[in-house]
């Protein structure tokens, strides 16, 4: 369980945040980057930052009831690299998944549709 992976932390209350989670993971899968899911507590930015610190590839995603955040350990916990509202277009959430993977791969990021 220690291979390279983007860590995806989901706030407990949103463990069934099915649709958003599906898009995020699809984006990562299409890029061929594994991800590991954990159910935790906290707001999206904080859990994303903790996920990034824990991830062997230093990229974390946090998802709570309101928003989804893409984070890096070098950034301040309260200011993630990207933040989107959860009820946003599925294409944008998918693109965020793509971008998390591209940060790992060192490929230029996708423009959010």
């Amino acid at each position: 369980m220690n291979g390279p992976a983007v860590f995806l932390h989901v706030a407990a209350s949103e463990a069934d945040a099915g649709p958003a989670l599906r898009e995020l993971r699809a984006g990562l899968e299409e890029e061929g980057v594994p991800c590991r899911l954990r159910v935790v507590e906290g707001d999206a930015a904080t859990i994303a930052w903790i996920a990034a610190r824990a991830s062997p590839v230093s990229v974390g995603i946090g998802l709570d009831a309101e928003s989804v955040c893409l984070h890096l350990p070098q950034l301040a916990p309260e200011s993630p690299l990207l933040r989107l509202p959860v009820d946003h277009l599925p294409e944008r959430l998918r693109a965020l998944g793509h971008n998390a993977a591209r940060l790992v791969k060192g490929a230029p990021l996708k423009e959010l549709p």
């Binding site: 299409e30 061929g32 940060l103 230029p108």
Partner: protein, 611 residues
């Protein structure tokens, strides 16, 4: 008695001024200034820019207009330049037969051959028919797509490949028991002809397609006759080097790769005349030009591309100068071979093909500009006596000679925006001058077209700044290999991109798919094709007996001499001729700037001493 004088040089793109105090033949330079030239060089609107430059110079010198005795204005060389570019090849795909683009993440691996079928039809087909290539539009979700292909396989209907509109190839392939090759991000999936034989190929990571990039591979897949194989050969060529590809065989479908008849260029020399076919490329044009020198005019064949191109240059020049189109004469041209990425007509995924093109810079001699009018207007604006002094080239030589370590015989190369001008001096006065078409603006144009950058400002950044690759959000690798770290995260849109490190705007991302090395090569080649070629051409024209070895010192001046690598590329080109070549440092402080303005003051002082 002390007199305060100001030298003003109105150039094509910049106007420069310098303030000097003269006492008994001794000159003390007090300050200099620079402003963008307003209006076409040699016309009354120049006054605005001239006043701005003088203001700045006086400000630095701590003087006012009231203290100035005389303003010296250069007799501007009445030449301006224009640019044009024309593609000479064109790739057309008729009836949409191929998709040769490189999605970042195709799915599956290998070659799939079958008949194209719409996704909605998949459920209705019975086993026993042909193998299928499924065409999946954006509305279909990846899970739905995978489930339908699985279900078809269960029924005995073989889907051997897929063409997908969304970025879903891997998602679909991962959900199949037996993965099939899938090409995704096909923008115009609705244009894929249905019911036709097709092949989808995806190569393993790091490899490129083999069967579809091979003419005989295509012949095998589609059982083609030798005649038909000949027709599809361009398809194979177009697919070389891509990781994934789709070829759909439509009856009568065709990819053509034709040469557009660009027309002939007629070079009228003062003694000889020569016609040259533009399709022959830049080398043939420049060779013909060498034979007819000195050039009196150039005309393009009427009704041809090159005819239209030169007519365009003439019209622009006529508009600028107010001269009649018929009186505009092209006195020099520089041709450069280039290539232009063009979207392939009939392509399905916005594929690009590199088309060959010829870029032409043309130098036009205008009727002598009424410099006295400019002088009068400037005199009114500044309320100071204005004197028109000296020919530009002579003044440039004088100014350049204030560079430490220079002596005659010297050649001054003014690397500007529109033209590369050479002046040669054996003694104090310039004995020969030449104005070669093509300079910084042509370099910008070549860089822009070869990299597919439409934004002129961005192309300008690529020209004038070193490159770096953003390797993480906290560090970049510069083009010389050194690494620079940052405390704050760089903007996300620069991530993994090549950026230009500009002086004014910091990091500017270059949104093209080329790597740093490729962009750097395009940049340096463009500079070499214009400045190294023109430096040699212009020096040959002014050197004694056309022999560059007869020159001891070459001093580079002008805006493009400030570039971080152009002086180096020019020096490299002149290395074989045993000349000392370097960037000028006017009055040991100005660098390659202010040569003509300084030359005006130097000439004035010498006259005063003689008088």
């Amino acid at each position: 008695m002390m007199t305060l004088i100001v030298g003003v040089d109105i150039g094509n793109s910049t106007t420069e001024a310098c303030v000097a105090a003269v006492r008994e033949g001794e000159v003390a330079y007090l300050g200099s200034g620079l402003a963008a030239t307003t209006g076409v060089k040699g016309t009354v609107p120049n006054v605005t820019g001239a006043v701005r430059a003088i203001d700045r110079a006086l400000g630095r010198a701590g003087r006012t207009y009231a203290e100035v005795d005389t303003i010296l204005l250069n007799e501007a060389t009445p030449v301006i330049s224009g640019l044009a570019m024309e593609t000479i090849t064109e790739t057309i795909i008729t009836e949409s037969t191929m998709i040769g683009h490189n999605p970042q993440t195709p799915g599956g691996e290998g070659l799939g051959v079958g008949v194209t079928v719409a996704f909605e039809q998949l459920g209705t087909l019975h086993p026993g028919g042909d193998d299928l290539i499924c065409v999946i539009p954006a509305a279909v979700d990846f899970e739905e797509a995978a489930a339908a292909i699985e279900a078809a396989a269960q029924r005995g209907v073989t889907v051997s490949g897929a063409i997908v509109q969304r970025d879903d190839a891997r998602l679909i392939a991962n959900r199949l028991t037996t993965p099939i090759p899938i090409v995704d991000e096909v923008t115009h999936v609705e244009r894929v002809p249905l019911g036709m034989a097709a092949a989808v190929e995806v190569a393993a990571p790091g490899r490129s397609v083999r069967t579809l990039a091979n003419s005989y591979g295509l012949a095998t897949v589609f059982t083609l006759t030798p005649e038909e194989t000949r027709v599809v050969a361009p398809v194979a060529r177009a697919l070389m080097g891509t990781r994934s590809a789709v070829v759909v065989r439509t009856p009568g479908g065709d990819v053509t790769d034709r040469r557009i008849p660009a027309g002939t260029l007629e070079l009228h020399g003062e003694r000889a005349k020569k016609a040259v076919d533009v399709n022959g490329g830049a080398a043939e044009i420049m060779d013909a030009l060498k034979r007819v020198q000195p050039l009196a005019d150039v005309v393009g064949e009427t009704g041809s591309h090159v005819g239209g191109m030169l007519a365009g240059v003439r019209e622009t020049m006529a508009d600028l100068t107010g001269d009649e189109v018929a009186t505009i004469r092209i006195r020099d041209v520089l041709a450069a071979d280039t290539f232009v990425p063009r979207e392939v007509r009939g392509g399905l995924a916005g594929e690009f093909a590199l088309e060959n093109a010829v870029a032409l810079a043309a130098m036009v001699r205008t009727s002598r500009g009424p410099i006295e009018q400019v002088a009068r207007a400037l005199q009114e604006a500044a309320r100071v006596t204005v004197r028109v002094g000296g020919v530009e080239a002579e003044m440039a030589v004088r100014g350049a000679l204030t560079t430490p370590g220079t002596a005659t015989p010297v050649a001054v190369l003014d690397l500007g925006g529109g033209s590369t001008d050479a002046a040669f001096a054996l003694g104090d006065d310039a004995s020969a001058t030449y104005h070669a078409a093509g300079a910084g603006d042509l370099v910008t144009k070549l860089i822009g077209s070869e990299l597919g950058i439409d934004d002129r400002e961005l192309a300008e950044h690529v020209k004038t700044s070193p490159l770096a690759k953003v390797e993480s959000l906290f560090h970049i690798r510069l083009e010389d290999g050194t690494v620079q770290y940052f405390d704050k995260a760089l903007p996300a849109e620069t991530f993994a991109r090549v950026v230009a490190l500009t002086e004014q705007q910091g990091m500017v991302p270059i949104p093209v798919s080329h790597g740093l090395d490729r962009i750097r090569r395009v940049r340096r080649d463009a500079k070499r094709r214009v400045f190294a070629v023109n430096a040699l051409r212009a020096l040959r024209e002014v050197a004694p007996h056309g022999n560059v070895r007869g020159i001891d010192f070459v001093v580079l001046i002008g805006g493009s001499a400030l570039d971080f690598e152009i002086p180096e590329l020019v020096a490299e080109a002149l290395a074989d001729f045993g000349v000392v070549c370097g960037t000028g440092n006017v009055r040991a402080v100005e660098g390659p700037r202010n040569a003509v303005a300084t030359g005006l003051v130097e000439a004035y002082v010498r006259e005063e001493v003689l008088a």
